[in-house]
């Protein structure tokens, strides 16, 4: 089941990549389309942040993930390298769970 998803999603993403090389440029390229595409990407990523942070099995839960995400935001603002930021944020959640039982 999962494999079908992996292959399907990979083909779906590839369909976008190859589209640009198959379609004559005059047909699809406008500032508006670029604008829409950029806001779509932002909305999806933001939604993923929200859901990954606050949602657990259909309920809104405030737990160790919240301080971790706040730390992630601060570290991103400070331009800390991605993998370091992710590790530290995960660590914040782990510590909050261990010591504060969040």
């Amino acid at each position: 089941m999962l494999w079908i998803g992996v292959i399907g999603a990979s083909l779906a993403v590839f369909s976008w990549k190859i589209l640009g090389y198959l379609v004559p440029q005059k047909l699809v390229s406008s500032n508006r389309a670029l604008h829409v595409s950029s806001k779509l990407t932002i909305a999806l990523l933001a939604a993923l942040v929200g859901v990954q942070t606050f949602v657990s099995s259909g309920h809104v839960v405030f737990d160790a993930r919240v301080p971790a995400v706040i730390v992630a935001g601060v570290l991103s603002w400070l331009r800390v390298p991605f993998v370091v930021m992710v590790i530290i944020s995960g660590g914040v959640a782990a510590l909050a769970r261990y010591y504060l039982h969040w």
Partner: protein
């Protein structure tokens, strides 16, 4: 430049590999995503949705990954006239059409350099991304309970890192806030994964509605 971009992107790959196996994918599925999908945001979204929703979120995981691939379509459009690949080379060029190869290419000052920037970056990133995904995947499998390591929070942090550079103006930030609120609130009554897609629709509508302001 291509080499260092490739290496830096490889660090994202370690996070991806680990988060993927912790979300429940096996090493082969994880590696397949990096080899076949080869697009960071889409890959993180796919394993993120599976990680929180399980198999019931499979449809929306596929759809989320697909929607996050839209920008790759625009990249292809910009690169196509310059690279003009024929036949099989189109498939290779397409696969390597990602944020980094396009960005490095566009930063060059001459057409030969732009072509070289695209191909070299694409190949280096492909090499580092896939080898470091494997490393991350192995590390992920060696870890025990994802939650005690804070890995669910790490996935959220990864998305923060991916969105941060895009929040350059007020409209983008507002879209992000609105999308997050919509996704969280609708999670209370919609099946897992669908709130994210609904939030995506919100982003599209805002962009269409506000086009005159730009």
């Amino acid at each position: 430049m291509s080499f260092s971009v490739g290496l830096a992107t490889g660090l994202y790959a370690v996070s991806f590999g680990a988060l993927s196996t912790l979300a429940g994918l096996n090493i082969w599925q994880t590696m397949s995503l990096s080899l076949l999908m080869f697009s960071g945001a889409s890959q993180f979204a796919f394993v993120g949705v599976i990680g929180s929703a399980g198999l019931s979120g499979l449809t929306s995981a596929v759809l989320s990954a697909w929607l996050l691939g839209v920008r790759n379509g625009f990249y292809g459009l910009s690169m196509s006239p310059m690279i003009s690949p024929r036949g099989f080379k189109r498939i290779t060029a397409a696969q390597l059409t990602i944020d980094e190869s396009v960005a490095v290419s566009m930063a060059q000052d001459s057409e030969p350099n732009r072509k070289r920037g695209f191909w070299l970056t694409g190949m280096f990133v492909y090499l580092f991304w896939n080898s470091l995904t494997a490393l991350g995947a192995l590390a992920g499998e060696a870890m025990g309970d994802p939650k005690s390591w804070g890995l669910d929070a790490a996935a959220a942090a990864a998305f923060v890192g991916l969105i941060w550079p895009r929040l350059k103006d007020l409209i983008s930030t507002s879209v992000a806030l609105g999308a997050a609120v919509i996704a969280v609130v609708t999670s209370l009554f919609l099946p897992a994964g669908w709130p994210v897609l609904l939030a995506g629709l919100f982003g599209v509508l805002v962009a269409l509605f506000l086009k005159e302001r730009d």
